[in-house]
C-alpha cells in the first residue's frame, strides 16, 4: 500500500474543503472497498478524508412521505429499519443478500453505491484493464468473461456493477443527494447516476471529483409485493451472477430491475410495461440489444427463468 496522510472530517463542509485542498485525496467511509483496492495498489490516494463520523447516519421521513437515508447509514441499519422492512422490503432483501454480516456492519449507503467492479482482471494488476489503467486494453474481452456484462458494454470494458443494494434503489426510483466543494447541492436520479463505459470505463458515475454524497432519498412507498432473487455460485457470501428485483402489484403491473447484467442496475420502462404479460415478454424488452459472449450467454435464459419464478412467487 502507498503511504497516505489521514484526516477525520467533522462536517460536510470540512470534508469537501479538505478534498479541494489536498492533492489526490479520497473520501473513506466503511473502507471495505477502498482499503481492499489500496492494498493491491489499484487505488493509490495520497490523502484520506474520513467521512465515516459525519452526522449523516440518520433515516428521516421526508415531507413527500418517503425516506431520506443518510450517506453514512450502515447497510445493516438500513436493512433493519422498521420503515424500510415494512414499506421498501426490496431494499432490505437486496441488502441482506450482499456480502457478510461483518461487512454490512461497516459498509455505508454511499460506499455501497460507489463500490467498484469485481472483474477479476481489474483486480489483477498484471493484466491489461482500461478501467484500472486507461488505454491498456481489456483482458476480459476474449478472455474469461463468465461474470461479465451482457448489455450496455463497450469495446473498452464489459464489467458489471456488483452492488445488490443499487438494484433495489433503481427499482424504487431513489435519488442521490450530493454537495460539491463550492457547497453547491444537487439531486441525481439513480437512473442517471452511473456512466456507460464507452471509451472511458474508468469514469463510473456522474459525480465530479470531490463531490460528496450526503443522502439517498426514496419516494413514498408504492406498496405491492417486494422480491429480490439473487443467483450466485454459492448460497451465501458471493456476488451475483444475475439478480432480479421486483415490485409487483395485485393487478400484475409493477417494476423490475436486474443486477449482474450491465455496468449499472438494469431497468427499462418498456419492460416494466410488459410485466402483466409474463417473464418472456419482460426479458425480451429488458435485454433487447444484449450482446453476450459465449461464456456469459447463459445469463439471458437465467434472467428469464429467475423472473418467471419470481413472478409466480409474487402471485402467491
Amino acid at each position: 500500500m502507498k503511504s497516505f496522510t489521514y484526516e477525520r472530517a467533522d462536517t460536510v463542509a470540512a470534508a469537501t474543503a479538505a478534498f479541494a485542498r489536498a492533492k489526490d485525496a479520497r473520501f473513506i467511509a466503511g473502507g471495505t472497498n477502498l482499503l481492499d483496492l489500496m492494498k493491491l495498489e489499484i487505488e493509490t490516494p495520497a490523502h484520506l478524508i474520513d467521512v465515516s463520523r459525519l452526522a449523516l447516519d440518520r433515516i428521516d421521513a421526508t415531507p413527500e412521505g418517503g425516506l431520506r437515508i443518510g450517506a453514512m447509514v450502515r447497510n445493516t441499519d438500513l436493512a433493519s429499519d422498521t420503515r424500510v422492512r415494512r414499506d421498501y422490503g426490496l431494499l432490505s432483501r437486496a441488502l441482506v443478500a450482499g456480502a457478510s454480516g461483518q461487512l454490512r456492519n461497516k459498509a455505508t449507503t454511499a460506499g455501497n453505491l460507489l463500490q467498484r467492479t469485481r472483474c477479476p482482471y481489474f483486480y489483477d494488476t498484471n493484466q491489461p484493464c482500461n478501467k484500472r489503467k486507461p488505454g491498456t486494453g481489456c483482458a476480459a474481452i476474449g478472455g474469461f468473461h463468465r461474470l461479465h456484462a451482457v448489455i450496455g458494454a463497450s469495446d473498452a470494458c464489459i464489467a458489471t456493477h456488483p452492488s445488490d443494494m443499487a438494484v433495489a434503489m433503481r427499482a424504487l426510483d431513489a435519488s442521490v443527494e450530493t454537495v460539491d466543494a463550492a457547497g453547491k447541492a444537487r439531486v441525481i436520479p439513480i437512473a442517471d447516476f452511473y456512466r456507460a463505459p464507452g471509451t472511458t470505463p474508468h469514469l463510473e458515475t456522474v459525480l465530479a471529483p470531490g463531490e460528496l454524497i450526503t443522502a439517498v432519498t426514496l419516494p413514498k412507498p408504492v406498496g405491492g409485493t417486494h422480491i429480490y432473487h439473487k443467483v450466485r455460485d454459492r448460497a451465501s457470501y458471493a456476488f451475483a451472477l444475475i439478480s432480479v428485483g421486483v415490485v409487483v402489484q395485485k393487478d400484475g403491473t409493477g417494476r423490475v430491475a436486474l443486477g449482474g447484467v450491465g455496468y449499472k442496475p438494469w431497468r427499462v420502462s418498456a419492460a416494466d410495461a410488459e410485466l402483466p404479460r409474463g417473464a418472456k415478454a419482460v426479458t425480451a424488452a429488458l435485454l433487447d440489444g444484449a450482446k453476450p459472449g459465449h461464456e456469459n450467454a447463459y445469463k439471458l435464459p437465467l434472467v428469464e427463468r429467475t423472473l418467471a419464478g419470481v413472478l409466480a412467487q409474487a402471485k402467491g
Binding site: T5, Y6, R93, V96, A97, S100, Q102
Partner: protein, 212 residues
C-alpha cells in the same frame, strides 16, 4: 602426475571459479544497480481506543489495519489474518458491540472505540460460554478460524435478539428466530478450511438454548 592433494586443490578452484562466473552472470554488479530516490518516511498518526477494557494509545503508520495494530503492536495474536481482504472472517472482532473484519479497517479510524477481541471475551481459566461450547462441541480442528468464528457467533446471537433480518428470514416484519438455517446464513462470513461447520452450529445453538 597429479597428486591427489593437487587434484583436490584444482577441483576446488574450478568449483569456486565456476560459481563465481555464474554469480557474475546473474547478479548485476553493484555499481550498475539503478539508483532509487530516497523514500520519504511513511505518514504516521496517533490513535487512542479501548481494547478489552484497557485504554491504549498508539502511534501508527496510517496504513496499519486494525488487525495489524492488534497483532503486531498490542501483541494480541488471538485475532488471525487469513486473507487480509474481507473474504474469510478470521480477523473478526467486536467494535462498539458490532462484529467487523479488522483487516478492512484502518486503526486510525477507531479513535475512542471500544474493541473486544477473543482475548477479551474470556480467558482459559474463565471462558466465555461461547468458547466453552466450541470446546464441548469440538467446533474446530486446526483452530485458525476459531477466534473469528467465536467473536462472530457472539455477535450473531445479539443481532438476532436485536431483530436484524438475514437473507433467510422468511418474514421481514417478524422477529427473526434462532434456527440452524439462520445461524448458517449469518455465519457465512466466517470460512473454515477444516470444515468444522456442523459442530460450530451445534456450539452456537447450545449457547442460544435451541436444538440445532
Amino acid at each position: 602426475m597429479q597428486t591427489p592433494a593437487e587434484f583436490e586443490l584444482s577441483r576446488r578452484g574450478m568449483l569456486v571459479g565456476g560459481a563465481a562466473s555464474v554469480a557474475a552472470v546473474t547478479i548485476p554488479p553493484v555499481t550498475a544497480a539503478p539508483t532509487r530516490p530516497a523514500t520519504p518516511p511513511p505518514a504516521t498518526a496517533k490513535v487512542a481506543f479501548e481494547v478489552n477494557g484497557t485504554a491504549r494509545e498508539l502511534e501508527v503508520d496510517t496504513r496499519t489495519s486494525l488487525l495489524d495494530a492488534l497483532r503486531e503492536q498490542l501483541h494480541l495474536t488471538g485475532t488471525k489474518k487469513g486473507c487480509d481482504h474481507g473474504q474469510c472472517g478470521a480477523c473478526t472482532v467486536i467494535v462498539d458491540g458490532r462484529r467487523i473484519n479488522s483487516c478492512l479497517t484502518l486503526a486510525v479510524m477507531h479513535e475512542g472505540d471500544k474493541i473486544v477481541t477473543i482475548e477479551g471475551l474470556g480467558t482459559p481459566d474463565k471462558m466465555h460460554p461461547m468458547q466453552d461450547a466450541f470446546v464441548v462441541h469440538d467446533g474446530y480442528q486446526c483452530g485458525y478460524c476459531t477466534p473469528g468464528q467465536i467473536c462472530s457467533a457472539v455477535a450473531v446471537l445479539d443481532e438476532i435478539k436485536a431483530g436484524i433480518p438475514s437473507h433467510v428470514t422468511a418474514d421481514l416484519n417478524a422477529a427473526p428466530k434462532v434456527t440452524a438455517t439462520e445461524l448458517r446464513e449469518r455465519m457465512s462470513g466466517n470460512i473454515c478450511r477444516c470444515g468444522a461447520y456442523s459442530n460450530i452450529i451445534d456450539a452456537i445453538s447450545d449457547v442460544a438454548g435451541v436444538k440445532a
